[in-house]
């Protein structure tokens, strides 16, 4: 026992990323910059990335996936199937899932948007090392996991071997103090933060979100923050396990989990200190997520469409805020307002709480879970010259449709207020 204690004392301090990666390759310490091969706890793919991953998997020459319980296949992007080709892709991954007896395959009707669904079902957990063939796999860092997006070939190899190669990242520490203004959520904090770092300010790095304002932040807001770490170029977005995480996991986690904490004197590449007292509701202007601005200062920006949903903001907190603002009003008759609860459970809860009734009565379209409009797939594609405000995560050229359309990113409060006003607005203007 003494021996172990002595040994541990000699280990250099480490960040969350270093500790979780070290644990998964049987080491006690890893330096930033090291290349390691590590065991993964889950490999994820969707209806866009999984067909390619399965084609590559079949070339490796193994018959079975490494562990049927450690693979998740979620057909959420172009589903319910938007066209014949999408239907063929879904059929291909469905057949594979059944043939390999994959435990975590979710058919339409049980399917939700992957990054909302897997935490909700307790499939991704603190201390896990997770890779997903989807860039927003970094969402699960909100649970204190190291989780990151990779491509289909990486997913294919991991499905065969249960391992992936990683470069141990440097870490940037973000320390948030102060309190949140009315209506401000995790989405505003992350848009503001990406405005500071730029879209490549955390390239190849882990982002640790810390401080008293994070400790006070809801789980849904934490997911929204970690979800967008990739929009700063980040590999991981991580929030340490605490009482809020613990409470979220009660009755939910499907297996035991391991909690890691960053050492106080760990080496950080950079630190940002951010006072939330001053953060207003944010909007990121076309065509980069880093173009963050205060929503109240934007003037008269007329919109054609509002989308409230996605892996960033399709959770209960988001729908509750939208319902509070929209209740008893009508959305602007000139625009389309599309609301997409991210999972079936969220859909049910929103129904029980009366939110869906509020939305439909106001003139919103409410959809079954899908990523659809976020990536210009279906369920809200923009025409030439059209403009959408959206609670999604990317506003690149052509992201939601025509290359000459525009996407403004916001949290649920600005999106809901804008739906009433028919232009970009803050809640105070419509309540």
């Amino acid at each position: 026992m003494l021996k172990v204690a002595e040994k541990l004392e000699n280990i250099k301090p480490q960040t969350m990323a270093q500790k979780i990666l070290a644990w998964h390759c049987g080491r006690q310490y890893l330096d930033a910059g090291e290349l390691v091969n590590a065991k993964v706890d889950l490999v994820l793919g969707n209806d866009i990335t999984m067909p390619l991953a399965i084609e590559e998997f079949k070339k490796i020459g193994v018959d079975k996936v490494f562990d049927r319980d450690k693979i998740a296949i979620v057909p959420d992007h172009f589903t319910p199937n938007k066209d014949i080709k999408s239907a063929e892709q879904c059929k291909y991954i469905r057949d594979f899932a059944h043939q390999q007896d994959i435990s975590n395959y979710f058919e339409i009707g049980k399917m939700g948007i992957e990054h909302a669904l897997l935490p909700e079902l307790g499939i991704v957990l603190p201390g896990d090392l997770i890779i997903g063939a989807d860039s927003h796999t970094c969402t699960y860092g909100a649970l204190g996991a190291a989780s990151t997006g990779m491509g289909s070939t990486d997913a294919a190899v991991a499905m065969a071997t249960g391992t992936a190669w990683f470069m141990v990242p440097e870490t940037i520490k973000f320390i948030y103090s102060g309190g949140l203004k009315k209506w401000v959520t995790g989405k505003d904090l992350i848009l503001y933060t990406i405005g500071l770092t730029g879209v490549d300010g955390a390239l190849y790095m882990s982002m640790e979100f810390t401080g008293p304002a994070i400790t006070a932040l809801s789980m849904d807001s934490r997911f929204a923050m970690c979800n967008m770490a990739i929009e700063a170029g980040g590999k991981f977005g991580i929030i340490e396990f605490d009482d809020i995480t613990k409470k979220y996991l009660e009755g939910r986690h499907t297996r035991p989990y391991k909690v890691f904490h960053a050492d106080a004197d760990a080496g950080y590449f950079k630190k940002y200190e951010i006072n939330c007292d001053n953060i207003e509701l944010q909007v990121s202007l076309p065509h980069l997520p880093s173009n963050a601005a205060n929503a109240k200062d934007l003037g008269n920006i007329v919109i054609d469409q509002v989308v409230i949903g996605s892996c960033t903001n399709g959770r209960m907190e988001d729908l509750a805020i939208a319902a509070e603002i929209i209740k008893g009003k009508k959305v602007n008759s000139r625009i389309r307002t599309i609301i997409i609860p991210a999972t079936q459970n969220i859909y049910m809860e929103a129904m029980e709480k009366g939110y869906l009734k509020t939305f439909v009565e106001a003139g919103c379209a409410v959809s079954t879970p899908t990523c659809g409009p976020c990536l210009g797939g279906h369920m809200g594609v923009l025409a030439e010259g059209e403009r959408s405000i959206s609670t999604t995560n990317r506003n690149f050229v052509g992201r939601m449709g025509h290359p000459k359309s525009e996407v403004y990113l916001s949290g649920p409060a600005v999106a809901a207020a804008s739906a009433i006003a028919g232009r970009i607005a803050v809640p105070e203007e419509v309540i």
């Binding site: 290349l35 866009i48 990335t49 067909p51 390619l52 084609e55 590559e56 070339k59 490796i60 020459g61 193994v62 992007h77 172009f78 938007k82 066209d83 080709k85 999408s86 892709q89 997903g132 063939a133 989807d134 860039s135 796999t137 997006g149 990779m150 491509g151 289909s152 070939t153 990486d154 294919a156 190899v157 065969a160 071997t161 190669w165 879209v199 490549d200 390239l203 190849y204 990739i230 170029g233 590999k235 980069l288 990536l375 210009g376 797939g377 594609v381 990317r394 690149f396 050229v397 052509g398 992201r399 290359p403």
Partner: protein
Amino acid sequence: MIIKDKVIKYGSNVDTDVIIPARYLNTTKEDELAMHCFEDLDEDFKAKAKSGRIIVADDNFGCGSSREHAPIAIKASGIKLIISKTFARIFFRNAINIGLPVIASVEAAENISQGDELEVDLDRGIIKNITTGMSFQVNPLPGFIQAIISSGGYINYTKKNYKTV
């Protein structure tokens, strides 16, 4: 391996949505993806790619989605190499994993223009700009990554090195 070709030059933050828009992701067929490569960024790309098969760009090339369809579309368009000041992390992995060479070099990217002719020695990490006469030495990739590239991609590497228990 030596690559000698002309340059197509782009700016910063060339994202995966302009490399291959999501509306075309309902297929994995290389030739179909190549048909739409860069169509939202540069409608002349296909014509340019007939005479220029090296892409040179500024910061954060390939940012955005994890779609491996992006490097696949570029490779299937006949592009032999991408040189950029920096690459987005997932795109960089994906390119290596499918055997599309990528070189990160600020100095080279700053000193190469549209239409320049380059001669690039991938093994020795030397980029020669034949048009300007300038030459750039870049750091070789880590051994493990070189092994993936020399195997012809991550799948071939895995086939060679992974033994089922």
